[in-house]
């Protein structure tokens, strides 16, 4: 409790207080002002928010699409193979995130490994501009967050009774129908958990857009950082943006919680 108060509640209160103060070149002036919120509600920062949401949605969707088959395959694999595969999913965490992002920069660069490979394979004649595009940001985001989707998905799929699929096929469903009527509904909990773990951090992404993105499309995380880093500083603006993001995440969480409760309740009623 003390820990939470000292290191979570108090800092947040400071952020809340700062968001209602006036900016100064280096610090804040202790004059109450609603200017920061006025600007946000006027839509001046709509673009970074939209970009961040777009990024979070794309990242989550791609992670689900890529993660599901992987998680399914691991869940159905034999015990021994399963553990090996799980270790493979976890191994990337052993390397520092920044180092991994930098290796992506080398890989995606204009005269980097990927372009060299594609050219020598004869698929393209001039190098592709991938580095410093929104595509690169999504690519690296998916790379970083994929394990956070695979692991919860795996844990629900592992509990799935695969004879249910036999039963569905026995009753006339082909593989596709069996997947959509049995596997997918029973994996919803895993998808929920994975989405929480991927969507929310993606929304506040800073590091990856900063390192592989470009400066034309700034995400919320970057905007907040620039407000503090660049002079003249604008602490109230940065605080207000942070709080707005927090509020949005909280709303998202509530919606998901509500959906999940509804999903659960449907099974528990009567």
């Amino acid at each position: 409790m003390l820990w939470l108060t000292a290191f979570f509640l108090v800092p947040y209160l400071i952020v809340v207080i700062y968001s209602f103060l006036s900016p100064d070149i280096y610090d804040v002036r202790f004059e109450v002002s609603l200017d920061a919120y006025r600007q946000i509600f006027a839509g001046n920062y709509l673009r970074p928010f939209l970009l961040s949401f777009k990024l979070a949605i794309y990242t989550t969707l791609i992670c689900i699409l890529l993660g599901f088959p992987v998680a399914y395959y691991i869940a159905r694999a034999k015990e021994k193979l399963r553990n090996t595969l799980l270790i493979f999913i976890i191994i990337p965490f052993w390397t520092n995130l920044i180092i991994r992002i930098f290796s992506w920069r080398i890989f995606l660069a204009y005269n980097g490994v990927l372009n060299d490979l594609l050219i020598s394979a004869g698929l393209i004649s001039t190098p592709l501009e991938i580095m410093r595009t929104d595509l690169a940001v999504i690519l690296v985001m998916v790379y970083v967050y994929l394990p956070y989707m695979i692991l919860p998905l795996y844990s629900t799929l592992e509990k799935l009774d695969f004879t249910l699929l036999n039963a569905a096929m026995d009753l006339g469903a082909n593989e596709v129908k069996a997947f959509f009527s049995i596997t997918l509904p029973l994996a919803v909990e895993g998808i929920f958990a994975g989405t929480l773990l991927v969507f929310i951090p993606s929304l506040g992404a800073y590091l990856i857009p900063q390192l592989v993105g470009n400066q034309r499309s700034l995400y919320v995380g970057q905007v907040i950082t620039y407000k503090i880093k660049n002079i003249p500083r604008n602490w109230p603006m940065a605080s207000a943006l942070s709080l707005t993001l927090l509020l949005l995440v909280a709303v998202m969480l509530l919606i998901m919680y509500y959906l999940f409760r509804k999903h659960k309740a449907r099974r528990l009623q009567s």
Partner: protein, 392 residues
Amino acid sequence: MENIILENLSKDFGAFLAVDKVNLEIKSGELFSFLGPSGCGKTTLLRMIAGFEIPSQGKISIGNSEITDLPPYKREVNTIFQNYSLFPHMTVFDNVAFGLRIKKRPKDEIRQRVHEMLTLVKMEDQALKYPDQISGGQKQRIAIARALINKPQVLLLDEPLAALDLKLRQHMLIELMNIHDAVGITFIYVTHDQSEAMSISDTMAVMNQGKIVQSGPPDDIYERPASIFSAYFIGETNLITGEVTAVHEDYIELSCPDGSGKNLEIDSSFHVAPAPGRQITLSLRPEKIAISRNKPRAMDDINMLKGVIEDILYLGTHTQYIVRVGKLKFRVFSQHKRVYFDDKALDWEESVWLFWHDTDTWLIEEIPSESMFIDDPEGASGLQRYVKRGKI
């Protein structure tokens, strides 16, 4: 309605031959069961008929149409799975409606048919519950309704009662027979429980090591086992093995290699007359043997011998006596009737007479191997010495 024909059907999993060249015709409308110990291939056989396993060899047909390579969803065959496999995220109603929804039938028809099926299995008031809110027996009924709503030609049941307790099992067994009579389609039932198979089946097949050892009506298999495996796996039995030394008109003599040097004569009905010099085995069911303290009056066609009670096992419905006769041990079942042969109950170490009608022994032309009697090594090894008309 068509017969199911299995021709030369085999399935191997690598080096393990699960089903070995099975040939069988299951008549339409029959309640047919496969009985065998675990690992005998009965479930694999069922899964091949359902379409979950592709046979390594052979053919499966329903009537004239071959279904060997059809996927499960294209076969007019439905299965009741061992753990029911009800869909946990659907209500009872949705579970039963699943097959019809997949076939995109009109809503009214679905509602009406689901209602019919739920009525058939007496679950019409539980339609809105989820599988985890109903009991094991109720799940069983829903699984049956879910399968039958598709009007299959054949219903496959894979150990359907294994998860239920004894009372419920007996109840569901009767229920299953009633449902079978009501819908009139072929049921193929797989079980390792002989009493289940015997009471429910029109015809049953005893399986061992991937092969069908014997098939026929249950009473036929019980009374006239074709092999030592059938005799031993179904029910309990006393096996008596010896060399035929002489064949007379109404009895044969068996050699007695237990050291006594005597030739014993056994007087029984034989479906085939064994040739002298052959080793034969006789099966004698424990409940066919009468046990008495006093020597019974000598009668035609009755075999008698004298022994000592070595063990008494009280089993509720009957008592099992282990009686030592020379070097041989007999199991004898005696029901608890108030009308005793003797005025007081038998006790340990008492000497008793065993007697039975000669048509109650059954000749098996096969010699038991030691491995067949893991649980009863003594009964197997020293089996050979015998008896004629009460003299030992």
